[in-house]
C-alpha cells in the first residue's frame, strides 16, 4: 500500500513574542493572546527562505528512510513565498538532495494549502507506479503587514514527506479534496503583503472548507471522529483548530499533539503538515491520523493515515518537531525582526 516512507520537519530558531509586536503597535497583547491563543512565532533568519527550509526538512525526511535520492521521481514544493516569481524552487531542492536529473519538479501555490497539494499529487503518482518515490514539501516564510492582525501569526517552517510503496511508515487509507472559489485572502503580483477579508476568512472560508473536507473524507472512508487517535487541522491561530475540531466532534486530546501554533505561529503551507510530523513523532503502530489543510481561495485537502510498525525504526533518526520548536530558541526584538523580515532596509 502507498504511504509515507519518510518525513522531516524544519523550524528556524528565531522567535518573536506577541507582547513584543503588540508593544510596538500599542495593541493589547493579553487580548491577542487570549483571543487568538498565540504566544510567539518563528522568524526566518535573513539568509533563510522557502528553499533553504525545504532543503532542511527534506534532508530530515531522507534521514528517516535511507533511500537512494536518485529513486525520487518527483519533487514538489508548495509555498506562497517562493523566493522567485520566475525560477523554480523545486530544482534547487532536487539538486541539493541529489535527485537530479531524472526527476519531475514543480512549485505549487494555493495559499496555505500548497503543501498538502504536493502530497496529493505525489501520492497519486506513486499509486499509479509512475514513480518509485516522490517528495512533497510544504514551506513558507509567510508575510504579515506591519501592525496587521496577520503580523502576530505569520511564521516560518517546513515539513517534508517522501511517499512510496515499500517500507511505509504510515499508509494512506483515504484522500479527499474540497474546494470552491472563495476569495478570503489574496496577494496580487508586486504586492509584498497579502490582504484579507477580516471576519470573512472564518465561517464561509476556513470553517466551511475544513468541515466539508473532514466530513467528506470520513464519509468516504466510513469512519467517525472517535476512530482517530490524532487529528490536525490548518492552524492560522490557536483558536480555529479547536473550534473546528469541536464542531466536527473531535476532542481536545485528539487535537493537542499536532497543535503547534501557540509557540510556532502560522507556517502557512507548512502548518498542518508540521502538525502531522509532530503526530508521527509520537504515534504508535495502527494509530489512525486525520489531517485537513486549508488554503484561502479556497479549499482543503484531507488524508487519513494508518501508522505501521515501521514508525518505530525511523522516528529517532532525525530531529523531532517538538524539539525543533522548544530547543535552541533565540528571541528577537521588534527592530531586529523588522530587519530580518525586510520591513526596514538599510540605506544604500
Amino acid at each position: 500500500m502507498e504511504g509515507i516512507v519518510g518525513y522531516g520537519a524544519y523550524i528556524p530558531r528565531y522567535r518573536i513574542k506577541v507582547e513584543e509586536i503588540a508593544k510596538v503597535w500599542g495593541a493589547d497583547a493579553p487580548s491577542y493572546k487570549r483571543g487568538l491563543m498565540l504566544e510567539e512565532k518563528s522568524v526566518p533568519s535573513p539568509d533563510q527562505d522557502t528553499i533553504t527550509m525545504s532543503v532542511e526538512a527534506a534532508k530530515n525526511a531522507l534521514k528517516r528512510c535511507l533511500i537512494n535520492p536518485k529513486d525520487i521521481g518527483a519533487v514538489y514544493i508548495g509555498s506562497e513565498s517562493h523566493p522567485y516569481a520566475v525560477k523554480p524552487s523545486g530544482t534547487v531542492l532536487a539538486e541539493a538532495l541529489g535527485a537530479t536529473p531524472e526527476v519531475h519538479t514543480a512549485d505549487f501555490e494555493f495559499a496555505c494549502k500548497a503543501g498538502t497539494e504536493g502530497m496529493y499529487v505525489v501520492l497519486n503518482l506513486v499509486k499509479t507506479e509512475d514513480i518509485k518515490y516522490g517528495l512533497a514539501v510544504g514551506a513558507d516564510t509567510s508575510q504579515g503587514a506591519p501592525g496587521d492582525a496577520l503580523e502576530y501569526s505569520a511564521a516560518a517552517g517546513a515539513a517534508a514527506f517522501i511517499f512510496g510503496r515499500d517500507n511505509v511508515i504510515a499508509n494512506v487509507l483515504e484522500s479527499y479534496s474540497y474546494m470552491t472559489d472563495t476569495p478570503d485572502f489574496w496577494r496580487r503580483e508586486y504586492q509584498y503583503y497579502p490582504q484579507h477579508g477580516g471576519r470573512f476568512t472564518g465561517d464561509p472560508a476556513y470553517f466551511k472548507h475544513i468541515i466539508g473536507a473532514a466530513k467528506g473524507i470520513m464519509d468516504k472512508a466510513g469512519m467517525k471522529p472517535s476512530d482517530f487517535e490524532y487529528v490536525t487541522f490548518h492552524q492560522p491561530n490557536g483558536k480555529f483548530p479547536f473550534r473546528v475540531g469541536k464542531m466536527l466532534g473531535f476532542e481536545k486530546k485528539q487535537i493537542e499533539t499536532g497543535w503547534l501554533v501557540n509557540k510556532l505561529g502560522n507556517t502557512y503551507s507548512g502548518s498542518s503538515p508540521l502538525g502531522l510530523t509532530a503526530i508521527l513523532d509520537v504515534s504508535k503502530p495502527r494509530d489512525k491520523i486525520l489531517i485537513v489543510s486549508y488554503g484561502s481561495g479556497a479549499g482543503s485537502d484531507a488524508f487519513i493515515f494508518e501508522v505501521t510498525k515501521g514508525i518505530d525504526k525511523v522516528r529517532d533518526l532525525a530531529p523531532k518537531t517538538r524539539e525543533l520548536l522548544d530547543n535552541n530558541r533565540c528571541y528577537l526584538e521588534y527592530g531586529e525582526y523588522a530587519k530580518f523580515r525586510q520591513k526596514i532596509k538599510k540605506a544604500a
Binding site: D28, S31, G197, G198, R199, F200
Partner: protein, 384 residues
C-alpha cells in the same frame, strides 16, 4: 392631519450577510412588510441609508430599490441623517400619509456594511462626525462616545459596571430575538474583560457592524380599519438637530436633539414619560442608552446608570428598554436601525414578540439618533 397606522412590518435575520447583496436584502425585507400589511401596491417609498456609497459604492439607491421591488414609477426617496436615517424615513412617510398626499407608503432602512474591511467601515461611519473639527484629529465614534462616557462618570458618578449592565441586559433580550445578530447572553465580567477599544469603552460596549434592512407599511387609520388589520397608530413624532461636533455643545453628557425631539413627540401624542410602556433607544454604545433615557425624561439627569442597575429597564422592569436586543445585540446596520425599532414596538404592541413579549403594553416609543447625537428622531406608538 389624518391619523396614521403602521399596518405591516418586516425584517430578515441580521448579521454578516456575505452571500446577499444590498438589493437582495432590501427586496426580501420589503416583501415581508408588504405581506404583513396585505398590500402589493404602494403610493411612495422612503429608504433610510447612511452611506451606501462608501459601503457598497452605490448611490441613487431609492430608484434602484423601487425598481427591484417592482414598484417603479412610484416616487422613492433616499433619506440620510447618519444613523437616524431610518427614523427620519419613518417620519417623512408618516407626514406624507398624514397630509393626505399618499395613502400607502413603504418606509424602510438598509445598510450593507461588510463588503468593506473594518478600517473602511470605521471611516465611513466617521463621516457622520464633524470632519473638520473631529475627524481631522483622528477621533472615531468609539472615541467620541468614550469622551461622553468619561464625562458622565466624572459628573454623575456613573460606574463602569453600570455601562456593562446595559450590554448584559440587551444581549439577554437579543438572545430571545430570532432575528438578532447576536443571540447569546454575556456577563458583566465578559464586558469588563473584553478588548479595550477607547477607554473606558470595550468591544462589548459597542454595537457591531451589521448587514440588514427593516421595512414598515403606513396608511391612514381609516383605511386600516376597512382592511381589518391590527392597528398600531403613530401618535407622536419629533425630529431635532444639534451641533454634530461634541466640542460645540455646552454639556457633552446631555443629548439636546433627543430631548427636543422627545418634547415634540410627547406634545403631539399628549403623553408624558410615565405613560410609556416600552422603549427602543439608540444604544450604539452602552453610554448612549444611559444618556438617552435621561434626555427623554424617563429618568432624572445623571440617573441613567442607576436605572439599569436597579433593573427598571429589564424585560420585567417598570419600563423595558430595547426588548429587541437593541443595537448592541440585534445589530446596527446604521440606516436600518430606526425602522427596526418600529418593527419591535409594533410586534410588542400586537403581542407577537414571543419569548420577549411584555405583558399589557399599549404605548411604545422609539428613539433613533445620528452620530454622537447631532440628529434625533422620536416616535410614539399606541395600540388601538
Amino acid at each position: 392631519m389624518r391619523d396614521v397606522a403602521v399596518i405591516g412590518v418586516g425584517m430578515t435575520k441580521w448579521g454578516e450577510l456575505w452571500e446577499k447583496s444590498l438589493r437582495t436584502i432590501f427586496v426580501e425585507t420589503a416583501l415581508l412588510a408588504l405581506d404583513d400589511a396585505g398590500v402589493d401596491k404602494i403610493d411612495s417609498m422612503y429608504v433610510g441609508s447612511m452611506s451606501s456609497g462608501l459601503f457598497v459604492g452605490q448611490e441613487h439607491i431609492a430608484s434602484l430599490l423601487a425598481d427591484y421591488l417592482g414598484q417603479v414609477p412610484v416616487p422613492s426617496a433616499r433619506i440620510e441623517t447618519a444613523c437616524a436615517s431610518g427614523g427620519l424615513a419613518l417620519r417623512l412617510g408618516f407626514m406624507e400619509v398624514a397630509s393626505g398626499m399618499s395613502d400607502v407608503v413603504l418606509v424602510s432602512g438598509i445598510e450593507k456594511m461588510t463588503d468593506v474591511n473594518g478600517y473602511e467601515a470605521t471611516y465611513a461611519l466617521g463621516t457622520a462626525a464633524d470632519q473638520e473639527y473631529e475627524g481631522y484629529h483622528g477621533i472615531t465614534f468609539p472615541g467620541l462616545y468614550a469622551l461622553i462616557a468619561r464625562a458622565h462618570m466624572e459628573k454623575y458618578g456613573t460606574r463602569r459596571e453600570q455601562l456593562a449592565l446595559v450590554a448584559v441586559k440587551n444581549h439577554s433580550n437579543g438572545s430571545k430575538n430570532p432575528l438578532a445578530q447576536f443571540q447569546f447572553e454575556i456577563t458583566v465580567d465578559s464586558v469588563l474583560n473584553s478588548v479595550k477599544v477607547a477607554d473606558p469603552l470595550r468591544i462589548l460596549d459597542c454595537s457591531p457592524i451589521t448587514d440588514g434592512a427593516a421595512a414598515a407599511v403606513l396608511c391612514p387609520v381609516e383605511m386600516a380599519r376597512k382592511m381589518n388589520k391590527p392597528i398600531v397608530k403613530i401618535i407622536g413624532s419629533g425630529h431635532a438637530t444639534d451641533a454634530i461636533s461634541l466640542s460645540s455643545r455646552n454639556d457633552i453628557t446631555w443629548l439636546e436633539a433627543t430631548y427636543q425631539a422627545g418634547k415634540q413627540a410627547y406634545a403631539m401624542a399628549d403623553k408624558k414619560p410615565e405613560d410609556i410602556d416600552i422603549l427602543e433607544v439608540h444604544d450604539c454604545f452602552t453610554i448612549a442608552e444611559i444618556c438617552v433615557l435621561e434626555a427623554l425624561g424617563i429618568v432624572e439627569k445623571g440617573k441613567g446608570g442607576e436605572a439599569v442597575e436597579d433593573e427598571i429597564t429589564y424585560l420585567d422592569g417598570k419600563i423595558p428598554v430595547n426588548t429587541s436586543g437593541g443595537l448592541k445585540a440585534k445589530g446596527h446596520p446604521v440606516g436600518a436601525t430606526g425602522v427596526a425599532q418600529v418593527m419591535e414596538i409594533v410586534k410588542q404592541l400586537r403581542g407577537e414578540a414571543d419569548k420577549r413579549q411584555i405583558k399589557d403594553c399599549r404605548i411604545g416609543m422609539a428613539q433613533n439618533m445620528g452620530g454622537s447625537g447631532g440628529s434625533a428622531v422620536v416616535h410614539i406608538f399606541e395600540r388601538e
